[in-house]
């Protein structure tokens, strides 16, 4: 019943998406409002049907309807409710369904919210969004149908992949990441609409600005939550391994970040028109590339879904996107002449241009490193793997220069910065950076990169704080507001600017967290007999006990360790290993004690069969928590930047809002 209904729903949605895409284009070309209206209706219908399909899937999962293959493979009677609900994105078919739903939702929001302001672009953007939907609906309706039935239904299902039922972060990491991926469809659609209509001015950029920040925000949160999940679940003590799929999520983030900055130059100076279009096309193509990598099985990764036949379809889709989009870009290139020019090397434009080139260089290095194993195998027939050393060697210096640019970009003047303004803006932060370098060096930081990382982070943080402090002081002098009122009014007056600065502060926290947890990382692996202890850093860890028990779908071996700091007990920690009958390897469950100062991370590596001794890996990673906090700050900054401005909306309901308030930035 659910199977038939589900398959019918998806097929119907596919038909409507194709219909909607066609009538939108026809309506716009032949100037028939009724057709355009019908295309708009299709967006609503696709969203309704996608929602219905998601609800059907959840009903099947929660109702444990094992006559549906997906449920039989990814659900089981013994799986807790939370993991049953989120099993929808635990495997290929369900994850495509989630993708479709998020895309349908974003399309709907875009059509509703931009419908009044962009009457000319909207039918084309609708057609692009519905075409993307149609591709994914085609996958879901045919090769990766989540509603495929099996007969006879098994009595119990296999349950989700053990790694995916180990931590509640699985509930939010994939949806955030998907929203981050899917979100770029909207800016891409409006960029394509601009290319199709030939209205290549700055209108499309004003439209997509906010959408890009939304997509970027979700992608940021998705990537950082992925790191957190990996840290808490995979049990090797790290949060980033330059795994192909991690890289795939970083690539659109890098190009998207470049895009968010370079559109500011186009808004202000009418330069970089082709560049911006190329960037948004690339970013969108990279989001599809990321899904392709996860689902095609061409590279080995912890994230790889079971192999499937949809890889070639994805590849064809990427090919079509690139050729059609860049084809349009080439066709329209004559109308995309820059109207402004670079005036000086010391200006915000230059800083942003450098930032763009470096972000793209970063992205290219990641792309190359990710695909290099494939290149090597194709060209030389040799299997290689590209690991952390390559990525760190190339990307750390680029990252450091980016932090430097991040510090100066927002404060340096457009067009041409005077010596006086440079001195006024940067002397205090520079002084603090030097002080910071001295302090970190006294605290034991060694090596060029770590010292640079800390001092640049200090520099960037100081510029941001100085900027807020100046703004607050000015408001207090003029209007006599209190500190907090002044801060909130200041931010509200220029949300994009101050939102961006908050994001930069988040980046600084992430950089500090990554550097400290890498440079000051301590680790030790020892075998302990019961009652014995080991020392690492400030801590003493004593092995107390080892217990084992059988659970419904696994058996668990758990160690109990007492952690002492200066002879005072601070925690009792229980790392474990879980053995699932269906898996080739036991799944470790680490125990992490997080404090703002440092994380203590315990991994049970192995144990003797009589339980008398255990091998324990202990890691101390300072300031890891600040990476997650930094991610939250970045998300907060994005939220501030996109928060709707009631005052302006009420005052000018139709007129385009200006990008920057004159004299403010």
């Amino acid at each position: 019943m659910i199977s038939t209904l589900g398959r019918f729903t998806l097929a119907l949605a596919l038909g409507i998406a194709i219909y909607g895409a066609i009538v939108s284009i026809l309506g716009a070309r032949r100037r028939k409002p009724a057709l355009i209206e019908s295309g708009r209706g299709a967006v609503f219908a696709v969203f309704g049907l996608a929602t219905f399909a998601v609800l059907l899937m959840e009903a099947a999962l929660v109702g444990r309807d094992f006559s549906i293959q997906y449920v039989a493979r990814n659900g089981s009677l013994g799986t807790p409710l939370l993991y049953t609900v989120i099993a929808m994105w635990g495997a290929l078919e369900g994850s495509i369904l989630l993708w479709i739903w998020i895309l349908a939702l974003m399309s709907l929001l875009a059509v509703v919210m931009e419908g009044k302001r962009n009457r000319e672009a909207i039918p084309y953007a609708t057609a692009v969004l519905l075409s993307i939907s149609a591709f994914f609906l085609f996958l879901a309706a045919f090769p990766a149908n989540p509603f495929t039935a099996i007969f006879p239904p098994p009595a119990d299902g296999r349950g989700p992949n053990p790694l995916l039922q180990n931590h509640p972060l699985m509930a939010i990491h994939p949806p955030c990441l998907y929203a981050g991926y899917v979100g770029w469809s909207v800016p891409y659609a409006f960029a394509m609409a601009a290319l199709m209509t030939g209205r290549l001015g700055e209108e499309w950029i004003r439209t997509v600005r906010r959408w890009s920040i939304v997509a970027w925000g979700f992608l940021t949160v998705g990537v950082i939550l992925g790191g957190w999940w990996s840290y808490e679940v995979l049990g090797w003590g790290g949060y980033w391994a330059w795994d192909p799929v991690e890289n795939a999520s970083l690539l659109p983030w890098l190009t998207g970040t470049a895009f968010l900055h370079s559109i500011m130059i186009q808004e202000r100076r009418k330069m970089l028109k082709v560049w911006n279009l190329a960037l948004i096309i690339t970013t969108f193509a990279l989001t599809i590339f990321g899904t392709f990598l996860t689902r095609s099985g061409i590279l080995s990764s912890v994230h790889a879904f079971s192999e499937s036949t949809i890889g070639p379809l994805f590849l064809a889709f990427i090919g079509v996107i690139l050729l059609v989009s860049f084809g349009f870009l080439a066709y329209r290139s004559d109308g995309l002449k820059a109207e402004g020019d670079l005036d000086s090397l010391v200006s915000r434009e230059t800083a942003f241009l450098m930032n763009n080139l470096l972000l793209l260089g970063f992205a290219f290095a990641v792309f190359l490193g990710t695909l290099f194993p494939l290149i090597s195998e194709a060209v030389r027939g040799v299997k290689v793997s590209v690991g952390e050393p390559f990525f760190n060697k190339v990307n750390v210096p680029i990252g450091l220069v980016l932090i430097f640019l991040m510090a100066i970009g927002p404060l340096i003047a457009w067009r041409r910065a005077s010596l006086e303004s440079l001195r006024r803006n940067f002397s205090l932060p520079l002084l603090l950076a030097f002080l910071g370098t001295g302090v970190s060096s006294i605290l034991g930081v060694r090596g060029l990169y770590p010292l640079l990382a800390f001092s640049l982070a200090m520099f960037a943080a100081a510029t941001v704080i100085q900027e807020f402090a100046r703004g607050v002081r000015a408001r207090r002098q003029i209007s006599g507001e209190g500190y907090l009122t002044a801060l909130s009014n200041l931010t509200r007056r220029s949300r994009r600017r101050y939102g961006g600065l908050i994001v930069h502060l988040g980046v600084v926290l992430v950089v500090i967290g990554i550097t400290a947890s890498t440079v000051f990382r301590l680790e030790k692996e020892v075998s302990l007999k019961r009652g014995e202890s080991m020392h690492l850093g400030r801590y003493q860890v004593r092995f107390d006990d080892l217990t084992a028990w059988q659970e419904a779908h696994r058996f668990v071996v758990q160690g109990t360790f007492t952690v002492l700091n200066a002879n005072r007990q601070v925690a009792e920690m229980r790392p474990a290993k879980r053995f699932y009958p269906s898996e080739q390897q036991p799944i470790g469950t680490v125990d992490v004690r997080s404090t703002p100062r440092e994380d203590l991370y315990l991994i049970l590596s192995s144990f003797t069969q009589d339980g008398a001794s255990a091998t324990l890996k202990v890691l101390i990673r300072p300031l890891v928590m600040w990476i997650w906090i930094g991610g939250a700050v970045m998300a907060l900054g994005a939220l501030v930047a996109i928060w709707p401005d009631r005052r302006v909306l009420a005052a000018e309901p139709v007129k385009e809002r200006v990008a920057w308030q004159p004299g403010r930035s």
């Binding site: 392709f292 095609s296 099985g297 061409i298 590279l299 080995s300 890889g311 070639p312 590849l315 990427i318 090919g319 690139l322 050729l323 860049f326 084809g327 870009l329 080439a330 290139s333 004559d334 695909l371 194993p373 494939l374 290149i375 195998e377 194709a378 299997k383 075998s527 084992a548 058996f555 071996v557 290993k577 053995f579 699932y580 009958p581 269906s582 898996e583 080739q584 390897q585 036991p586 590596s605 192995s606 003797t608 069969q609 009589d610 091998t615």
Partner: protein
Amino acid sequence: MATWKKLIVPIAITPILLLLAYGFKTNPRQVPSPLVGNSAPPFALSSFDGGTTGLEQLRGTAIVLNFWASWCFPACFEEAPALEAAWRAYKDRGVMVIGVDIQDREADAKAFIERFKLSFPNGPDPQGRMSIDYGVYGVPETFFINREGKIHYKHVGALTKQMLQGKIEEML
């Protein structure tokens, strides 16, 4: 825009697409072991029934070294009868089958041996030392060590009778 500029994009995109298409033909999970062709790392194993065995004592014997666990279902369960059959067929022809039980509980391991009536030496790998030396990713994995003590072949996943027979014959 000049014609050559318009061609840049297709020229740049096509090789990437071709490369990705090539990826469909490869199997990323097939990782060649660097140990194949090299001397097998020495080991010493105390078996569950009290005996000991090791690489040094077995010079001149071809060895089938199988890593398994009682919780590894179904692969280890599938291959256990094949291993026992191979052991019975070849033990008089200078072939040794050795089972290494990793990450397991002793009672479960013994029950597993009893269940499949395994008569070749089986022992635990208490600190995971052997698994590390042999670079074991998961269970089951099997190393074929020839009479010179060099690793002839590594197999990942369940073994079948035919494949055991084939690889053992190659070493004799």
